[in-house]
């Protein structure tokens, strides 16, 4: 088992969230907004999608060195299960479900002569004798077969859930009369499970989303990119939260020179255009890495460090907005009666900050965390395009887009890398945006008053 830096931070984050959940369980003031989220159809459906992505990301965060390998490579649990996908590389581009390469080559025939044509793929549909005639039927048959298996799997679990529900409720007519929210959640679950099962089933026979320039499976790349997106979206907030909360509350509560100093710091940071600050920092990290090559033993460790640096830099550029919001809110809160009363009763200032101010600004923190998530995922793609994003060897949607962009001029066009990145990114960001809306509706006092 190898623990990379980002893995460790992810697991710390998970434990922190679990701890928070246990601490907040049964607290009345947190129950009401949570129930409001649970009653939002879009919110719950998007939560299911998000959790599915998180699950994949977590599987991809458990790294280890396989026992029987010759070279010094580190793989994750996801890699281990996707070994066929990982190792079934082709020579170069091939279209989704193709049985031949995308470009013509000179093929050496068995009788010694050569022929100009599309060579067969090494793995995609290699068991077909006559691909042109059989391919469509085979793809349809395999899709139907995979979907039937996936759907029955999903159906089995959903029926099991309904059965439990039935027993628990005890009444005949209520068990199947689910609320519309439960229906939509189950529908999303059914689609996710059956759909991903079909894809996994098919990918054993074909390259479902084609292969890229060096012949790597695009489906595998897109799935691996999920972790990068999630890491950037969550770890950045984890890094910026302490700074934003501590400075924001201190500035608002103590005012005076503390306020001036903190305001000065965040205005200075804010006045540097974000992209340029990130660019400058990443340039410096590159120089540092180039001069300290011996510290980064393997490619994956190096890429991981750069990902962490990127989170750190994004965190430093992003905390100012939240800090300003918290400062304004604390300025309001410190004049409220219960804070004044605590002050008059002689409660220590640190206690006031911890007990009275902090819990009452947490809704702002929560809202800004979920709002920031989607913008960070989107930012990754742009930064990778300018070459100041994640390491070029890291799987990320930004790198996929960047690689595919150069092939736009090709005739006929290589569209699958781009579309795959688009679909995965769009799903994640859309789910995150919808969920953020639900959270905002539930926790923002201004909105819930309506």
């Amino acid at each position: 088992m190898v623990v990379l830096w980002t893995d460790a931070l992810i697991f710390i984050l998970i434990f922190a969230i679990l701890g928070l959940v246990i601490y907040l369980r049964g607290k009345e003031h947190i129950k009401r907004p949570l129930q409001k989220i649970a009653h939002s159809k879009a919110g719950m459906a998007s939560l299911v999608v998000l959790l599915f992505f998180v699950l994949i990301g977590l599987l991809d965060s458990v790294h280890f060195k396989p026992a029987n390998t010759k070279n010094n490579e580190i793989i994750s649990l996801l890699d281990y299960w996707a070994t066929p996908l990982r190792e079934h590389g082709e020579k170069t581009y091939s279209a989704p479900f193709a049985t031949t390469l995308y470009s013509k080559e000179i093929i050496a025939l068995e009788d010694g002569t050569t022929q100009w044509g599309y060579p067969r793929l090494t793995f995609g549909g290699n068991y077909l004798d006559n691909p042109e005639a059989q391919q469509l039927a085979d793809v349809l048959k395999k899709t139907g077969y995979g979907f039937a298996q996936g759907a029955s799997l999903a159906g089995f679990f959903i029926l099991g859930y309904l059965g439990i529900n039935y027993n628990a409720q005890g009444k005949k007519n209520q068990a199947f009369a689910l609320s519309s929210i439960a229906k939509s959640v189950l529908a999303v679950l059914f689609i996710i499970v059956s759909f991903s099962y079909t894809l996994i089933y098919l990918s054993a026979y074909y390259h479902v989303l084609g292969t890229d320039k060096v012949g790597e499976d695009v489906f595998y790349q897109a799935v691996k990119s999920i972790r990068t997106g999630l890491v950037l979206g969550t770890l950045t907030t984890l890094i910026m939260l302490p700074m934003a909360i501590v400075f924001g509350i201190l500035a608002g509560y103590f005012r005076g020179w503390v306020d001036d100093l903190i305001q000065y710091v965040y205005t200075t940071l804010n006045s540097i255009p974000g992209v340029l600050l990130i660019a400058a920092s990443i340039l410096m990290v590159q120089v540092y890495m180039a001069n300290h090559e011996q510290d980064f033993t393997s490619v994956i460790v190096r890429a991981d460090m750069r990902l962490l640096f990127l989170c750190l830099i994004l965190g430093v550029t992003n905390w100012t907005g939240l800090c300003r919001l918290l400062r304004a809110e604390t300025l309001k809160l410190r004049e409220v009666e219960y804070v004044q009363a605590a002050h008059a009763l002689g409660v220590k200032q640190s206690m006031i900050l911890l007990r009275h101010i902090l819990p009452n600004v947490m809704h702002i923190v929560l809202i800004s965390v979920v709002l920031d998530f989607s913008s960070l995922v989107l930012a990754e793609a742009v930064l990778s395009y300018i070459n100041i994003g994640v390491d070029p060897t890291t799987y990320s949607w930004g790198n996929m887009i960047n690689g595919a962009r150069l092939e736009m001029a090709r005739e006929p066009i290589v569209w699958w890398s781009l579309s795959a990145a688009f679909v995965f990114m769009f799903t994640l960001v859309l789910a995150a945006n919808l969920f953020a809306d639900a959270v905002q509706d539930a926790f923002d006092p201004r909105r819930s008053a309506e």
């Binding site: 006045s271 540097i272 255009p273 120089v287 001069n291 742009v382 300018i386 962009r405 769009f426 859309l430």
Partner: protein
Amino acid sequence: MINYIIRRFLYAFPLLMGVNVLTFVLFFVVNSPNDMARMQLGQKHVTEQAVTNWKQQHGYDVPLLWNSDAQRQEKITRTIFYQKSVGLFLFRFGVSDSGRNIGADIQERMWPSLALALPTLCIGLVVNISFALMMVLFRGSYLEQAGIVLCVILMSISSLFYIIGGQFFIAKLLRLVPISGYEDGVGAIRFLLLPVLIGVFSGIGSGVRWYRTLFLEEVEKDYVRTARAKGLTETQALFRHVLRNAMIPVLTGVVVILPLLFMGSLIMESFFSIPGLGSYTIDAINSQDFAIVRAMVFLGSVLYVIGLLLTDISYTLVDPRVRLS
């Protein structure tokens, strides 16, 4: 008023000083000039002599903060910190690592940037505000619901896809405009059409949502109810009262980014190969030209600080309740 402006100017000075120190730490302390020289000259087979030469050429051969070899005030002035930051404050950006004059380059390249960014901002503003007003006008209807859903979908798509999609369908398939390039004078319109269109389109999702919340907040207020009670139609109330009052936050949001328009948009310019400051910066990042990146960081902060000042002044002009003190 004049007093206030002068005071704000003086406040800008420590800010820029802070930016300068920050970039100095980032560029010269985290990595020594030696590291940079090695990076520029290639990692392997670099002789000491080559490194020294490179440092001398670019003026990095003096100590960072304190020159103990020099005479009196030269102890401070003959250092990297002094030489590299005083020039920035006087807008003398010096020479790039590839030997070009940065100041001249910036002057030449900021106009194409502006030609792209200004129309994008103006058209985007008009489009976003009209859509937002429409959604507020039809609030509570299915039309608004559809609009909200559409906004969320639009803002979930990465701007890269708008650019790639636009270039592919409009420029490559339909051949309505050239894919990329630039030309001085009136001919530029042909090249700017698509980037402006895409820039406006990619901003619609988040823009409309933002303006909609602004307008909705305003619509609930008492004076609007009074206006309706007086017998004004919903449209009249919206355009005469709500729009004018909501313009204050809209205006301040716009004014602060106005000076930054000179900096251009990084991805737009490099996708459409427009020779503006955005693509200049990207080229500098890619070729690891530290002098240019430093100059652009400083220029960006100066423009931002000017934007803050303009915002404060514009507040007093449009909102009589705000007094500068």
